[in-house]
Amino acid sequence: MTALAILIVIGPLAGPAAAALRARARAAGGASAAGAVVSLVAAIALLAAQVHRAPLTGWAGFLYVDALSGFFLLTVAGVTLLAAVGSVAYLSAEEDAGTLSAFQVRLYFIFFGLFASLMLASLETGNLGLLFVLVEASTLASAALVGLEGKARSLEAAWKYVIISSLGVTIALAGTLFLFYAASALPLTSNERLTWPYLIMHAAALAPQPLRLAFLLAVVGYGTKVGLAPMHTWLPDAHAEAPSPASAMLSAALLNTGMYAIIRFLAITQARLGTTFPHAVLLTFGFASIVIGVLFMVRRGNFKRLFAYSSVEHMGIIAVALGFGGVLGLYGALLQTLNHAIAKAVLFLGSGDVALRYKTREAPEVRGLLAAVPVTGGALLLGSLAVLGSPPFGLFLSELTIVRAGFAGASPVLPLLLLALLAVAFIAFARTTAGMVTGQAPAPPPAYTGRAARWAAAIPLAAGLVALLVLGLWIPAGLNTAILHSMAVIR
């Protein structure tokens, strides 16, 4: 079991190893993808083996994998695989076009692998201090990806990202500190006082006031990484300026890792203080994020920024779902996490194809995608429909579950507000993407040279859409069990 957990973390390091051996984009990308396959298979095996047993622990709690970690590992490893395959196509196109130097390509694969590996590691630790260390380290690795192109715009975006996220995560560290202090009356060693399973076991004896402060600081701190408003300001810039497969990783993997940290704090806080206070906090930040996300989606412009604001909105929806709570709320939140991750990976990878072909990231300059580039255009259209929660895709099911969770609560005002905001989001988002895919326009020169690159660009789009469709029609029994066991960890 421990071997599987280690394999998950080591897998993505195949890319950096290849890049260190001076491999070119195609080979390094291939190594990254192979490593990601190893990670994903190990994550599935671990989840399958672990779900009915006691959590996997080791090294004095520094290693701790329960169903919740297993579920997020599955999500992040899946996204890493999609993004790694997409990277093969994107980076070899950039290398062939001379946009990125061989050195920059190597840097990309080194930091891509480190980023994925650190995120997966942060999902496997039970020590909240180590969680902070790994999350901050993954911030640094991903900031290098954002600033990779070295232009003034990307450097500024990277700066904004690294300084805001570092400050945010430092606030989360202060929250961790207060949690540690809240546990000072417990008969635990200093190591155990930072270790999640011990804390949840002794939750009833935690000091309430420091715990309250700890939860608030953790939500603000890790919420900065999640992109909860008003701490989201780094997010659109970073997503717009990063190479597209890296944007996919940011949106579909990094944000979820932050949410995972918040869920860990939520579980402890809920066990001691009841649900009223943490739910109010999550609902406030959640609705603020949805409103901000939707408002900024109305503007037509850079399509990667549009997708980024849609991520703010979706993270808000997940926070709201956690805030609604109950069986439906938690189920909806976890399902939404998986669905959104896949859908956003498809959209950002598709946006990479568009940006390579049209040499622009401005939506009004792109027309007639469906006629000119059927694969990318189709993926973008279907991906947009999926991310907006249209049936038959998975997000329809998860958003419906979340709204139902809201109606199960005391007041129908909040779920009605959520529905209204989702409707506005649909119009705002579809207005831009519909303009991009419809119409007639001359086809631009192809983005990729060679059959391998074309397949590498198309496969993740198709695989992601198929997964979304399957999740919309039928939730596999294994996944259902995994989600139910994850919920048991939180409640």
Partner: protein, 227 residues
Amino acid sequence: MSAVEKLAATSPEGVLLDLSAVLILLLAFACLGSKLFNRYVAYYGAQSVVLSFAAAVAAWTFHSVELWILAVLTLAVKGIGIPLATRRLLLRRLPLARDTAISTGLSTSLIAGGALTAFAYLVTRPQLLPHGVVAAAVVPLSTAVILLGALAMVVRRHTVAQLIGWLIVENGVFLGAITLVATFPFIVEAGIFLDIAAGVLIMLVFVSGITRELAEASAAELRELRG
């Protein structure tokens, strides 16, 4: 008896820790009240040296080898390494002297800093902590240092000033960590150090990149507008 209770506020060690914390706060204020990049770095370096002294006092009180290592690390990385790197790689190369990108007057930011310090006392002192232990004095002080660092990041728009602001926030958290919870696991503390060092390194790369790109951009503009 927990580690915190051993460290009574009236013991010599407790007094030393309290004094260090006050000095750290004053140095944060000094940084907030300055306009020269050189001074920002100097005050930050001095603050880190005091912080490492505080860590040494805690290490001596608790007979903790790990805290001794942390004190040495603080001195080496934050007290000497980071100020030196910032000076060599940024201030001299770019040449930076006076910070002109401050959105409020110095007196306004000092008054705001005073208000934040009062606020820190208000929120942390009464409900949270048992009286008579040194942590009861240090926690509001470290909270105030965190808030002052954040304030510096808000009112200053220059990248170097924001970097120093973040480092001051980090120092505030660390001050809380060594006194409030003297026994934070060592692996975690060491990891935090690694993060800070790597973070500063990557930020220095970005800052010099941005400054270079902007300089080139403005020069290009000048050329285009000519004639």
